[in-house]
Amino acid sequence: MSLTSYKHKDVIHRCFRCGYCKFPTDWSSVTNCPAYARYRLESYSTGGRLWLIRAWLNDEIKWSENLAKILYACTSCKNCAEKCPHNFNVDIVDMIVAARTEMVNQGKLPKPVKNFLSNIHLYGNPYGISAKKRSAWVNGYPVQDYTNQEYLFYVGCEGSYDSRAQEAAIAVAKLLESAGISFGILGKDEISDGNDVEMMGEDGLFEELADKNIRQFKELGVKNIITLSPHAYNTFKNRYPEFDGEFNVQHYTQVIKNLIRQGKINPPQLEGKRITFHDPCFLGRWNGEYETPRKILQAFKGAQVIEMQRSRSGALCCGGGSGNFFTDFLGGSPESPSRQRVREAHESGAEILAVACPSCLVMLEEAVTAEKLDQEIQVKDLSELFF
């Protein structure tokens, strides 16, 4: 593909590279683009990335592993879209995704990306683990398979396979159970939601996943879906309708907030606990959901809810989006966004860093260990605070 067939060819040159996209809402740092925060070279800023894409499409530069790494290091966190002053800001992430699609179409991908996509194609998850083990997370807890209950609890790949995220999945399941919610899971029949597959530019695989999921949901009579992950929430809510997949989709925090309001769940006292909340990008910037998690936190009597310097639409991404929780292009450094984020949480005075995304949970907990802050601050999914 050349620039002439690139779908953003009429727009991509309009990036001035002014750098607004590096900042959070309060302008406190140039490090709110997670890839730029990690590498601090202009090529990793959003503007640098857009200029490189245009140069690649114009044949000014050739494809290289480094170019691919620069493109795939973007987590699609949408901070750039939030801060760019231009009216084309809504298309910025898609300009990057479309260039990744071109790399997919040319078969020119970095190895971790290939592995991610191949594993999803072969196993339905990025970890390359058998689908039979998909419901191992329940670990003896009596969670029913979905058979026409009111809700499908879609656990997702991290919740199913990552040992830390599994704990969050169990906590959510227990909460739903305790509130008397009728729900079931897909177990070994669950496959990737495809959100990160699409962000990585693999349109064909994404469409295949969407088709399979929608077909399965319909065959089972699913009407209402509760997701563990904001990534799944985003794609089910915003993308699946375009494939004739209209479902009532809620992130689990939205369900819990309502259950608290109805008195079906009673948050325990957390007297004196200082808690800060890390906004997941696919709940916050992608879907504008900032208040629900905070309302849940405020329901814990005695808890002191603290905001980090960068929060809500100005939050720093954990660095896990667009498959980076697996491909790890942003890892391996004290300047990795997850480590910067936990330092910020620690500086806020919080002793609990609450999250509402299994990807953030894993990324940030590992970062706490890397920062040797295990004794100072704990990373917990919001659902885990109830137990």
């Binding site: 040159h13 309009r14 990036c15 001035f16 590279r17 002014c18 750098g19 607004y20 590096k22 900042f23 309060d26 302008w27 406190s28 740092s29 140039v30 990690r38 590498y39 601090r40 070279l41 202009e42 090529s43 640098g48 200029w51 490189l52 140069a55 000014e60 530069i61 050739k62 290289s64 480094n66 170019l67 620069i70 002053p85 231009h86 450094s333 300047e335």
Partner: protein, 452 residues
């Protein structure tokens, strides 16, 4: 792999060094019309010690070095005209000290203007620094290297007039301190030591500024922008003079632009009114409009076009999209305020010749001691013809400035040469001697301010 690249990795680490195509491409371009200039290496030091090591390496290897801040000059001043190492200074961004009562702060020079504003707002709300009209990613060091101005230019002068001390890495790698910090007495004044400032306004050709003590100024609780509009450009200088004489308002700017059409050929004078109470604001507004500017209102030659307007963060990059093309560049000139009408008229003519909607702006510096007047030319980055037109318009404007007896601000190399051709010979020779003395190997941002 080669010796320089390996040495850079040893100094700043592999993550912050590159000789890869993608980084060389990225750093070969700035945001304006300048043709690309390719570096051989990019390095991003974290601190002065690492920077010193890079400078020493460059001297040993006789490799050019080009310090880069936010890269916002638009005039190609941080492009590697003779190859070498681009030194991206933005990792050097620590806030070292804020002295509230002494009204200064010490920062590393790679810090962004946005970070300073945000930090002061949160931690010292009664203080502010002079933030330039550039995007917030512009750095303090870069701004001083080009004699930038900011929103405190009226009545306080250039940002380089608001410095209490400097740390600079010399072209040969030593560190020099300027001001009271040089005698270990803190960072509170540049005076009364002999003036040895050979670094501000030199585009990084005589040294790399690494630490800065910035003067801070009272930040009042209420800030509003008030606007007064006239049709006759000849009235602008006297109005600016009178507002400046009033001495009750801050940032003072006159603008005119072809777009939007309703503003075409009008001249909008904006000034900042600040106060700690509503009464203070009301008094200043009264003095501004009911006393100082009342005669224009009575005559019908001017009118109030906005009161109590919010002052948004400068959105200068929006200028880049007027042609939906992602590019603009401007010539800035330091001129007497009385030049405003001629600057406007001749600038509009140049714009018309090149089919570019005119946009001009004059910011008063000091108490009407001068004005930074800018002529902006938008272009479409995807259309070479518009880039060429903009570049020609810029060159014509440079020539016009010199004809008018103005002084080009942060000139691109073309403008630098025009200035040096017209420069007093002894002064020009002194520039050369200073550069040769400080930079014997000619490694510092070569091609800039180069006396031929």
């Amino acid at each position: 792999m080669n010796a320089v690249y390996n040495a850079l990795i040893d100094i700043v680490g592999e993550d912050y060094t590159s000789n890869r195509e993608e980084e060389l491409f990225t750093y070969s371009k700035d945001l304006g019309t300048s043709p690309p200039q390719r570096p051989e290496y990019v390095a991003a030091p974290k601190n002065t010690a690492q920077l010193q090591e890079i400078v020493r390496l460059a001297n040993r290897e006789k490799v050019a070095i080009v310090p880069l801040g936010g890269g916002m000059t638009l005039a190609g001043l941080a492009l590697p005209l003779k190859g070498g190492i681009i030194i991206d200074l933005k990792r050097m961004e620590q806030i070292i000290e804020v002295n509230e009562k002494g009204r200064y702060m010490v920062v590393e020079a790679g810090i962004s203007q946005g970070k300073i504003t945000s930090y002061l707002k949160k931690n010292h709300p009664g203080l502010m620094h002079s933030e330039p009209g550039a995007p917030p990613a512009a750095t303090v060091g870069g701004n001083l290297a080009i004699h930038g101005q900011g929103d405190l230019a009226h009545p306080n002068g250039f940002n380089t007039d608001m410095v209490n001390g400097l740390e600079v890495v010399l072209p040969t790698g030593e560190i020099i301190l300027l001001g009271s910090c040089a005698v270990d007495s803190g960072w509170y004044t540049m005076h009364p030591l002999p003036n040895m400032d050979l670094f501000m306004g030199w585009n990084g050709t005589t040294g790399i500024i690494t630490k800065v003590s910035l003067r801070l100024f009272p930040n009042k609780k209420i800030r509003e922008m008030d606007l007064f509009t006239v049709e006759d450009e000849n009235l602008v200088p006297e109005i600016l003079y009178e507002i400046s004489h009033l001495g009750l308002t801050g940032d003072l700017i006159a603008t005119s632009s072809e777009l939007p059409p309703m503003m075409n050929r009008l001249h909008s004078i904006t000034t900042m009114v600040t106060g700690d109470t509503a009464e203070e604001i009301e008094f200043k507004r009264h003095m501004l409009f009911d006393v100082t500017l009342s005669k224009y209102i009575r005559e019908g030659t001017g009118g109030i076009s906005g009161v109590s307007q919010d002052r948004p963060r400068p959105m200068v990059s929006k200028s880049s999209d007027w042609k939906k093309g992602g590019g603009f560049e401007y010539v800035g000139a330091i001129v007497p305020v009385e030049f405003y009408p001629e600057c406007y008229r001749r600038g509009a003519e140049i714009s018309e010749r090149h089919d570019i909607p005119y946009t001009v702006l004059g910011r008063v510096i000091g108490s009407s001691h001068g004005m930074m007047f800018s002529w902006s030319y938008a272009f479409n980055r995807a259309d070479d013809d518009t880039v060429r037109h903009a570049r020609e318009a810029l060159h014509e404007t440079d020539e016009m400035v010199m004809e008018m007896k103005g002084t080009i601000w942060k000139p691109a190399v073309f403008g630098q040469q025009l200035m040096m051709e017209q420069m007093d010979k002894t002064t020009r020779e002194m520039m050369k001697k200073i550069k040769t003395m400080l930079d014997p190997n000619g490694i510092m941002n070569p091609g800039n301010w180069e006396v031929r």
